[in-house]
């Protein structure tokens, strides 16, 4: 089986995002970077599927040269091959991203054959466009569902499960298929020392990425208006319970 996971280099979640003075980018001075959370789980899922079914896993990213860091991170936990589509580091809109990924995937598949499954994260943590994976899937003419929390492959089909507010629903897709993976499908493993050392030696395939204008253009970034509200302290111990219940009563929650 061959599985491709597409990942994005994003500022490590939890960091304070500060907009640069010109409003055109974020200040990356103090930021660490990571693989976007849903995609980290997607890479782990790919590794687990290959452990189960045998085969080869590949990771691909569209990003600046520094994104090599994220590729080596997923290689260190078990992904076999990596592809970097190099950009100048500027923000690419989802349509342009999807186009570039599609071209690269088609090029690789022309020589190596199709990927049985391609995993995307449900949405990237930073720009959250919710669309790159779906665009790529349709360009490749493959079925696609998002929000996936369970993957089972058998008999040339993948059974994909996703959570609903009241339970779950299950889809069946013939292979080759594309899935949008959601965090929670698994707990990504930590790299071993051996994995980390080995990752340094893997050769990363570097490919060009052609940017195409799409009609969507960013004007500026800005911090949202401050959300600090005055906090009413109800107490400093269990004896605050009556005050809390008073508040709940006032709100109408009782």
């Amino acid at each position: 089986m061959r599985i491709l996971t597409c990942v994005k280099r994003v500022p490590a979640p939890g960091a304070k995002i500060v907009v640069a003075a010109d409003g055109q980018s974020i200040d990356t001075n103090m930021l660490g970077f990571a693989v976007s959370p849903h995609e980290e789980c997607a890479a782990e899922e790919a590794i687990q599927q290959i452990e189960q079914h045998g085969g080869l896993s590949t990771v691909m990213t569209l990003g600046p040269a520094e994104a090599e860091e994220q590729l080596r991170t997923v290689i260190s936990v078990g992904i076999n091959e990596a592809v970097l589509l190099t950009t100048d580091g500027s923000d690419w809109d989802p349509m342009a991203t999807a186009r570039a990924l599609t071209v690269a995937i088609q090029e690789i598949e022309a020589s190596d054959g199709p990927f049985d499954m391609i995993f995307f994260g449900n949405e990237s943590a930073d720009s959250g466009g919710y669309q790159v994976g779906i665009r790529v899937a349709r360009a490749l003419g493959r079925p696609m569902v998002t929000g996936i929390k369970g993957v089972d492959v058998a008999d040339g089909k993948v059974t994909a499960r996703r959570d609903t507010p009241t339970g779950s629903e299950v889809y069946e897709l013939p292979l080759p298929a594309v899935l949008g993976i959601k965090e929670g499908i698994n707990l990504p493993r930590y790299p071993t020392l051996k994995g980390r050392l080995g990752a340094k030696k893997v050769e990363i395939k570097v490919m060009d990425a052609a940017h195409q204008e799409s009609g969507q253009s960013m004007v500026t970034l800005a911090a949202p208006p401050s959300q600090e509200t005055p906090t009413e302290i109800l107490g400093h111990g269990a004896d605050a319970a009556p005050a809390v219940v008073d508040v709940l009563e006032e709100i109408g929650a009782l």
Partner: protein, 317 residues
Amino acid sequence: MSTLYFVDHDRGEITETVLEGLTAARAIDSAVAAVTVGAAGDGLADRMFEYGATAVHQIHHDELTDYAPAAWGDAVSELATSVGAAAVIGVGTDRGSEVMAHVAAALDMPLVANCIDIDASDDIWEMTRVRWGGSLHERTRLEAPVKLVTIAPHSSEATPVGGSGTVTEFVPALSDGAVTRIVDRVTTEEGVTLATAPVVVSGGRGVGSAEAFAPLEELAELLNGAVGCSRVVTNSGWKNHKFQVGQTGTVIAPDVYIACGISGAIQHWVGMMASKNVIAINTDPLAPMVTKADYAVIADLHEVVPAIAAEIKRRRG
């Protein structure tokens, strides 16, 4: 300008978010027409008129008996082409985002997701959209013959206007390919769910273990609410990811969010910042959750939560 609003319904059921989206769509174009896919959505026409749609297009097809993301996207894009729509607006729910992305791919048009305000007064639209689940705003321009956007959940207030209009049926051709559809549905929870509960009692690192969630569960039950948790809790294996509130979990907007032992990291905050009232219980008075909350108790949740439950029971007699 012909504007369509895609209605995210589940077998005929909609959430308040869907009405918020229609209100926002109506602000862009007061002549907006709502679109429902599948016969199960037909019964929603009256509510669509109530909240401002001037027409309802009901898409019917044998392949559209239940949710099928790509097929729904194809159906909506075929309708958009058929009526010469200049804009299709959806809401940024899971399915809303998914279907609109399929529409965007089918029409080969850009899609601007999760907009909190839109200036459509010009041929080139300008909008504010959210990044990082809401902790960063992006001002963006959209130039396209068919404008596709989704409205960020909890960014508008659903406003009924009591209108009326025509209902028309549309039957799309759809492609010959197999339709990827739901093959099984399992319901494990009845009643209150995290996504829609008016009260959520949520626990973070401070809870300490899976077992220690019991008092939170009791309190949630007393308040007819649901239990939530932070990412630390799911990563530690104390609770299933289904309970996770946050950017990569479930985004909620309850009347009351009781945050127990949760520090309030930004990716958690964006998952519940639309809550109407936040009560934080934490030993750290400087925790972001405490400073941002409406009310706080600076103490150990293991003492406070059972005390709140006891007080509620005492008052109910």
